[in-house]
Symmetry: C2
Subunit: 192 residues, 2 copies
DNA sequence: GTCTATAGCCCGATAGAC
DNA sequence: GTCTATCGGGCTATAGAC
């Protein structure tokens, strides 16, 4: 693996573990096992390194969201994606960046994060629309709103897990959301 | 206002705006308008100052949650609290701390945050239990789970708002959650 | 209780040899 | 492409006068 890849990988890890402000180029170099000159040869500095690292992370995470698009009925896929295992106490590698002031105030980094959320919300909306078409959710459902609600449950689940230092609250939040979807499903059948 | 209060107030603001790592004692002193000796007279250092500032913030925020306990039926109170105005793009003054690695790895700071969330979730559970008793939510509802789901929607709403630099996604997430609660309410009536 | 001066360290970045 | 040496500056904290 090249020094360049070592560096972006180390930066991605440290952004997750410590945040932008608390991650120094020295830390990154040490973890990557390369010297200082090497880092400044490949990157103009900490900022550019963060941009590349975060872009790579977003690419990975978006790949994982393909769970929303596999087999099963739309509602089944929604529930499966919600219930997929997540490292609650570690936080979301993308969502956590939104609470890092230095990331949000940096247009380059922010646009990477906001792009990821837009793409994710788009996938949610598609799947929710399909669920409505399939008669699995009420016609009155607003796909854009429900997409944001469910994305928020996941992101908020991370917050609860980190607050408690325990995966439990996040899993409970997800189960509660699934129960609400089931209730909405039930209300469709009641209408027929 | 005493120098001490000026200092805790400035620290609270800066924790919110910049996070723990990016806030230096110098910044705090400058905003508080006091000198260095004054700060180290009242506090042992940055850490103790953060502990007092965060405790004060938690006290304030918990006071605001009295919306859950005022007039109206339990479900009305839940919807009212969910829909209360919040500064989405600025983030939650308490919840954002859970995504700050330096806060979570500090037992003193973490216990303040986790205590706030436990208290908040307790209030949610009480209100949800009352809503079930009142026949506003299905008997099958798990109060602990739904409490975490709704707290997660709010916290996740902040994440979406900061990701987009726009209050809109957070408001949409809240409206989607209210719609799900309405659907759950409707399913109770359908059972009767 | 508040101030200024200063310590010792690490920050992010650059220079220049190899 | 990678290394070591070094810069100027900010960091958290302490010392000691007033």
């Amino acid at each position: 693996m090249s020094s360049r890849d070592q560096l972006t990988g180390a930066m991605a890890d440290l952004l997750w573990e410590r945040g932008y402000a608390a991650t120094s180029p020295r830390d990154v170099m040490a973890r990557a096992g390369v010297g200082q000159g090497s880092m400044y040869h490949h990157f103009s500095g900490k900022h550019e390194l963060a941009v590349e690292a975060l872009s790579a992370v977003v690419g990975e995470v978006m790949g994982e969201s393909s769970l929303l698009q596999g087999e099963g009925s739309p509602l089944e896929r929604m529930k499966r994606y919600l219930s997929a295992p997540r490292p609650g106490t570690q936080g979301c590698r993308v969502g956590r960046m939104t609470q890092d002031p230095q990331v949000v105030s940096d247009p380059d980094l922010l646009s990477i994060v906001s792009g990821a959320f837009e793409a994710m919300l788009g996938r949610w909306e598609e799947t929710i629309t399909a669920a409505i078409e399939a008669g699995e959710l009420p016609r009155s459902t607003d796909p854009a709103e429900l997409a944001r609600t469910l994305a928020a449950v996941i992101q908020g689940g991370y917050v609860l897990a980190r607050a408690g230092g325990d995966q439990g609250p996040m899993d409970a939040a997800i189960r509660g959301a699934v129960a609400l979807l089931d209730a909405a499903h039930a209300s469709v059948r009641a209408d027929r």
